[in-house]
C-alpha cells in the first residue's frame, strides 16, 4: 500500500466521523462540493482533525492551494516522507 493510500485511509476515517450523513465514495478527487455537510465551518474542523491525526501542519499557502483531497494527501505525504 502506497504512503498516499495509507494517508487517504486515515483521512477517510475522519471524514466518515465528521460527516456522518455522507455515504458516498472518498477518493483523491473528492472535494467539499461532493459532501453536503462539508461547509466552511466544518472545513476548519476537518483540517484540525487531519493535522492532529496525521501529525502534520499545513501552511497558510498550502491550505489555500488544496483543490481536492488528493492535494491535501500529497502535501501530508511530503511532510511525513
Amino acid at each position: 500500500m502506497s504512503e498516499q493510500q495509507a494517508i487517504l485511509d486515515k483521512v477517510t476515517d475522519i471524514i466518515r466521523d465528521l460527516f456522518d450523513e455522507y455515504h458516498g465514495p472518498v477518493t483523491m478527487e473528492t472535494t467539499a462540493d461532493d459532501v453536503e455537510q462539508w461547509d466552511s465551518l466544518s472545513h476548519v474542523r476537518l483540517m484540525v482533525m487531519i493535522e492532529v491525526e496525521l501529525g502534520v501542519h499545513f501552511s497558510t499557502s498550502e491550505m489555500q492551494s488544496f483543490k481536492n483531497l488528493g492535494d491535501l494527501v500529497n502535501a501530508a505525504a511530503k511532510q511525513s516522507g
Binding site: 465528521l18 456522518d20 466552511s40 465551518l41 474542523r45 483540517m47 492532529v52 501552511s59 489555500q64
Partner: protein, 630 residues
C-alpha cells in the same frame, strides 16, 4: 497539548457502547437517562468522543424533550471575530455540568450595531450574552509613546462596553459577560511600560473590565487566564485567524467552552457549594492510624509535607469563599481528629469542618449523611480522595457528586480543583462569604438538636431573630440570586433578573419582601423572598421561596403570620396563592395546605391554586422574634 480535561475521570472502556445506548433511546424519541449522559460527557474525551457528544447534544436540543434534570441556558454570542466554533462544544460542555446550553449567534460584525443602533441581532430574550472582542473592535489609533491617545482609546473601549452591557439589558433582558483579552506577543521586555503597545492596552482594558464586574455592571469570562494556562502559542492559531477569522484555535474550543460552561453553571446555581475531604494521604501524608501523630507527613519535614500544607491553605481559601467543608474518612473518629487537635502544622481546624464523618462505613453512605446534615443536594458537593478505588466507588454509587480526578500527588491537588471550575462563582457578596460559617452553625445546631430532644425547647434555645424588609438597592443582588437559584423551597419557580427586581422596588402594585434570619450560632443572612401582587382588596402571592439552609425552624409560619398581619392592617380581605410543581420542589407541595390555605382549583398543568380569607387566618405558633417593615 494541554487541551484535555485532567480533572475529569478517564474515558470508560465501554464509553462508546454506553453512548450508543443513549443515542438509540434518543433516536426512539424517548427521554434518555440524563445522569448517565452527564457521566459520559464528563470524562476525558478524545477528539472523536467530543464530536459524538456534540452531535448528541444537538439532537437532544432538536428533540426538545421535557428535560427536568438539566437547567436550560440560552446564551447569545457576539464577537468581533466569528464564534461559530463555540455552539457545539458549549452544548457538549453543558451536558457535563448539568446544563443544556443553546447558543444564538449574532451575524458576523454586529458588535457596533447591537451596541449603538436599535437593531437587535438576536431578536429574543437571552439568559446571558457572551461578548468576545479583540483589538479590532477598538478602532482608535494608538501611536507609540502617546499616553494621551492610549487613554482616549481606553475611554472609547469603556464606552463601547458600557453600551453593550446596556443593550444586553434592554434588548435581551440579560447580563453581558465580557471576555478579557489574552496577552499579546511581546516584542520587548518593556511592552507593559511602553504606551501604545498592544500588551499595555490589553492589560489596562482587562483591568477596566474587572472593575466594571466588581461594580456589578457585567460579568467576566477570563479568557486571558485560560489562554495563559494553555500557553499563548496553543491558544492562538494565526493560520486560521487569517483564514477563518477565529479568535482562538479550534483545538482549544472544547476547553474554552467548558470554562464558559462553568461560569454559566455558577450563574444557574449549579456550582459546587460543599467540599468533602478524605484525610489520610489527602490532607496529610501517611495513615494516622498506622503512622501516628509523629509519623504522618505534614509540613517542614518533607517536600510532600509542604505540599499538604499548601493544599490545606487552598482548602481554607475555598472556605473563605463560602464553600462548606466536610470530612469523610475511614478511620476511628478519635484518631482521625488527633492531627486537628495536636499537630502543630495542621492548617485546617476542627471548627472549619461543618460535618466530620470518620468511621468504618462506606464512603457513599457517609457522603449521603453529610448532604442530609447540611440539607444540600448531592449535586452540590465535590469529593476529594487520593484513592482511585474509593473515587470509582463513589462515582458509581453517587454519580451526582462531583468526584474530581485528583491524582495521588498532593502537589497537583490544587491545580486539578482549580481547573475543574467546579467552584466557579460570580463576584462575591457578603452573604456568600458568611455562608460557610452559617453551614457550620447549622451543623452545630443539628448536634444540639439531637441532645435536646424537645423540638420546641430546641427552637427557643436558638434565639432566632428575623428581619423583614421591602426590596431595596442593598438587597437586590442577593434577592436576584435567590430568585434564580432556589429550586426546592420555591412555590412557583418564577425567575426574575436584576432589572426586573429593580423595577419591583418602585412598583406600587407590588410588595417585595426580603427576609433575614440570625440565631445564636450564625448569621444566616437573607433566607427568603416573597413577592405579592396587589389587586384592590385581594392580594396574590406571586413568589414564595426560602433558602434550604434553615428548614424546620418555623420560618415560613413566621413570615406568613407577618404577611396576614400586614394584609389585615391594609384592609385586605383575601390572599390568593399558587403551587406550580417542578421535579425539584416536591418538598413544598403541601405548603399552602399546611399553612391554612384552602384549595380553589387543581389546574390541568398540575398547578394548584389556593386562597385564604384574612379574617379566617389563624396565626401559627413560632419561636422567632420578628421585626416587620414600617
Amino acid at each position: 497539548m494541554s487541551c484535555d480535561f485532567p480533572w475529569r475521570p478517564p474515558l470508560a472502556q465501554d464509553w462508546s457502547e454506553r453512548l450508543a445506548d443513549i443515542e438509540a433511546v434518543l433516536a426512539d424519541g424517548r427521554e434518555p437517562d440524563y445522569v448517565a449522559l452527564k457521566t459520559l460527557a464528563n470524562q476525558q474525551l478524545g477528539m472523536r468522543e467530543q464530536l459524538r457528544i456534540e452531535r448528541l447534544a444537538k439532537k437532544l436540543q432538536k428533540a426538545a424533550l421535557p428535560n427536568s434534570a438539566f437547567a436550560p441556558v440560552t446564551i447569545g454570542l457576539l464577537g468581533s471575530r466569528t464564534l461559530s466554533y463555540l455552539p457545539g462544544p458549549l452544548a457538549a460542555a453543558g451536558l457535563a455540568r448539568g446544563l443544556t446550553i443553546s447558543s444564538v449567534e449574532a451575524h458576523y460584525d454586529s458588535v457596533a450595531s447591537y451596541a449603538f443602533s436599535p437593531a437587535d441581532c438576536f431578536g429574543r430574550p437571552l439568559d446571558a450574552l457572551l461578548v468576545v472582542l479583540d483589538e479590532s473592535a477598538f478602532a482608535s489609533k494608538r501611536p507609540m509613546l502617546d499616553q494621551a491617545a492610549e487613554n482616549e482609546a481606553l475611554a472609547d473601549a469603556e464606552n463601547l462596553v458600557t453600551a453593550l452591557a446596556a443593550a444586553a439589558q434592554e434588548k435581551s433582558g440579560c447580563r453581558a459577560i465580557f471576555a478579557t483579552l489574552p496577552g499579546a506577543l511581546q516584542v520587548s521586555s518593556a511592552e507593559l511600560a511602553t504606551p501604545g503597545t498592544s500588551a499595555r492596552f490589553r492589560h489596562r482594558l482587562n483591568l477596566m473590565l474587572a472593575e466594571g464586574a466588581m461594580e456589578g455592571r457585567w460579568l467576566l469570562w477570563d479568557q486571558a487566564a485560560l489562554a495563559s494556562r494553555v500557553g499563548l502559542e496553543n491558544w492562538l492559531d494565526p493560520v486560521r485567524y487569517h483564514a477563518a477569522k477565529i479568535p482562538f484555535s479550534v483545538d482549544v474550543c472544547p476547553l474554552a467552552a467548558d470554562n464558559i460552561a462553568a461560569l454559566l453553571a455558577a450563574m444557574k446555581g449549579k456550582a459546587a457549594r460543599g467540599l468533602i475531604l478524605d484525610l489520610d494521604n489527602t490532607l496529610w501524608g501517611g495513615v494516622i492510624g498506622d503512622d501516628g501523630l509523629a509519623g504522618i507527613r505534614l509540613g517542614q519535614n518533607s517536600p510532600e509535607g509542604e505540599a499538604f500544607v499548601a493544599f490545606q491553605n487552598f482548602v481554607l481559601s475555598l472556605r473563605d469563599r463560602g464553600i462548606v467543608l466536610a470530612v469523610c474518612s475511614k478511620n476511628t473518629d478519635e484518631i482521625a481528629r488527633e492531627p486537628f487537635r495536636n499537630h502543630t502544622e495542621m492548617v485546617i481546624e476542627e471548627d472549619h469542618v461543618a460535618v466530620f464523618q470518620a468511621n468504618w462505613s462506606d464512603k457513599a453512605t457517609n457522603i449521603k449523611t453529610i448532604a442530609e446534615t447540611l440539607s444540600l443536594g448531592l449535586e452540590s458537593f465535590a469529593f476529594i480522595d487520593d484513592n482511585a478505588a474509593e473515587r470509582e466507588r463513589v462515582r458509581q454509587e453517587l454519580p451526582l457528586v462531583s468526584t474530581i480526578e485528583i491524582g495521588d500527588d498532593p502537589s497537583f491537588y490544587i491545580e486539578r480543583i482549580a481547573q475543574s471550575g467546579l467552584f466557579d462563582h460570580l463576584p462575591l457578596n457578603k452573604e456568600d462569604i458568611s455562608r460557610a460559617e452559617s453551614y457550620g452553625g447549622r451543623a452545630a445546631a443539628a448536634e444540639i438538636r439531637a441532645k435536646i430532644g424537645n423540638y420546641d425547647d430546641y427552637l427557643t434555645s436558638l434565639e432566632m431573630r428575623m428581619t423583614i424588609d421591602p426590596f431595596d438597592d442593598a438587597g437586590r443582588s442577593r434577592i436576584t440570586q435567590l430568585i434564580n437559584k432556589s429550586n426546592q423551597f420555591n412555590l412557583t419557580t418564577r425567575r426574575y433578573g436584576e432589572e426586573d427586581v429593580r423595577k419591583m422596588q418602585d412598583d406600587p402594585e407590588l410588595m417585595g419582601w426580603q427576609v433575614r434570619l440570625d440565631d445564636k450560632f450564625a448569621q444566616h443572612g437573607m433566607i427568603g423572598v416573597v413577592i405579592v401582587r396587589k389587586d384592590g382588596a385581594e392580594w396574590a402571592i406571586d413568589t414564595w421561596l426560602q433558602s434550604c439552609r434553615v428548614l424546620e425552624r418555623g420560618v415560613e409560619q413566621c413570615v406568613m403570620n407577618s404577611l396576614f398581619e400586614t394584609a389585615a392592617q391594609a384592609g385586605i380581605q383575601k390572599i390568593h396563592s399558587r403551587y406550580i410543581p417542578t421535579d425539584r420542589n416536591g418538598m413544598v407541595s403541601d405548603f399552602y395546605s399546611r399553612l391554612g390555605f384552602a384549595v380553589v382549583d387543581e389546574n390541568d398543568d398540575g398547578s394548584v391554586t389556593y386562597s385564604c380569607g384574612v379574617t379566617d387566618y389563624e396565626p401559627h405558633q413560632t419561636f422567632i422574634d420578628v421585626s416587620l417593615p414600617k
